[in-house]
């Protein structure tokens, strides 16, 4: 029922023009420069989307932002100038990759530090197996039913204690 109502509402709103009409974007530049445009657009966040880049978003606002990148590229602006243009308007929020400076180093290095810390903890928790024990294990492992096993059982003070408890 809800699904029907929702789709009806959607159909009605589409029919009555409750959407942003698509507008033609500007023409792509020469391949080499267009590649630069797309590369820059991948790094910029679309202003009206949820975490989509300007290059990936189909929204008309993203098209407009892409047009702006294209315009700035064809004006001969450097990558840095173009990024600065957007940062001047939307702040560092517009960068999908935070700049590696100041507090942002925390974001860049934090995961590496955490992984290294985890490895350190694992390394400390892993007790090195004593040489003698490892050799004994290697000898007894291939023949678990051999008479050597009961003899080690007799030697174990814990097992002896258990047996004593059971026999009582």
């Amino acid at each position: 029922m809800t699904a029907v109502l929702l789709s009806l509402t959607l159909a009605l709103s589409l029919a009555t023009g409750q959407y942003a009409p698509q507008q033609a974007a500007s023409d792509p530049l020469a391949p080499a420069r267009e590649a630069r445009v797309q590369q820059l657009a991948k790094k910029l966040r679309c202003a009206v989307c949820q975490g989509l880049s300007v290059a990936d978003s189909p929204s008309s606002m993203a098209r407009a932002q892409l047009d702006k990148v294209r315009e700035l590229v064809s004006d001969g602006k450097t990558d840095e100038e173009i990024v600065d243009y957007f940062v001047a308007r939307y702040g560092e929020w517009v960068l999908l990759e935070p700049r590696a400076e100041g507090f942002n180093w925390f974001v860049w290095l934090g995961p590496v530090v955490l992984v290294l810390g985890g490895l350190f903890v694992i390394a400390r928790q892993r007790k090195p197996v004593p040489e003698g024990a490892a050799a004994a294990e290697a000898v007894t492992a291939p023949s678990p039913s051999s008479p050597a096993v009961p003899s080690t059982d007799d030697a174990d003070p814990y097992l002896q204690a258990v047996r004593r408890e059971l026999e009582r």
């Binding site: 023009g17 409750q18 959407y19 942003a20 009409p21 507008q23 974007a25 500007s26 202003a47 009206v48 949820q50 008309s60 606002m61 098209r63 407009a64 932002q65 047009d67 702006k68 940062v87 001047a88 308007r89 939307y90 702040g91 560092e92 929020w93 925390f106 934090g110 955490l114 810390g117 903890v121």
Partner: protein, 186 residues
Amino acid sequence: MKRWRLPLVFAAVAVALLFVLFKGFGRDPHEVPFMLKGSPAPAFVLKPLDGGENVKLADLKGHPVVLNFWASWCGPCKYEHPVLEWGAREMGSQAVFMGVVFEDTEENARDFLRRMGASFPQLMDERSRMAVDYGVAGVPETYFIDAEGIIRGKHVGPIDPQTLALRVRELSQPAAAPTAEAARQR
């Protein structure tokens, strides 16, 4: 002392994580930062919706300007429009009210204005060039530009009459002396 070292390191990492999460959750994810506050408004030349001469920002110098970005497909713009109509009528002498049609066709915009009233001039923003220049992050948004052409701030979302009146009054005051509203906006 040695057995406390590891827990202490973990506590430090946990506190750092909490700090980052607090910073992240402390802000509204839908809020887009606005950096043009206090800087000169970018120039624009736009075609009015009802024909006639192109409108330039330079022509408006010397008058405070209230710029409203809207679209006919935007629901909140419908609730907001009467407030702007009222503002243009009541405070038209203190500030120039202008609408900028965002991501919409001329036909849809005209239809909207025919139904809702058109008491201030409307401009067509071809391909949203001006919207990108002004750092628009959705509609409706209302920009307040003083007589010197400095952006004093913007209001995101539908504006209410009290805020509109307050912001227009602020436009005619000198730029210094940040008010409580301005401080909150920062």
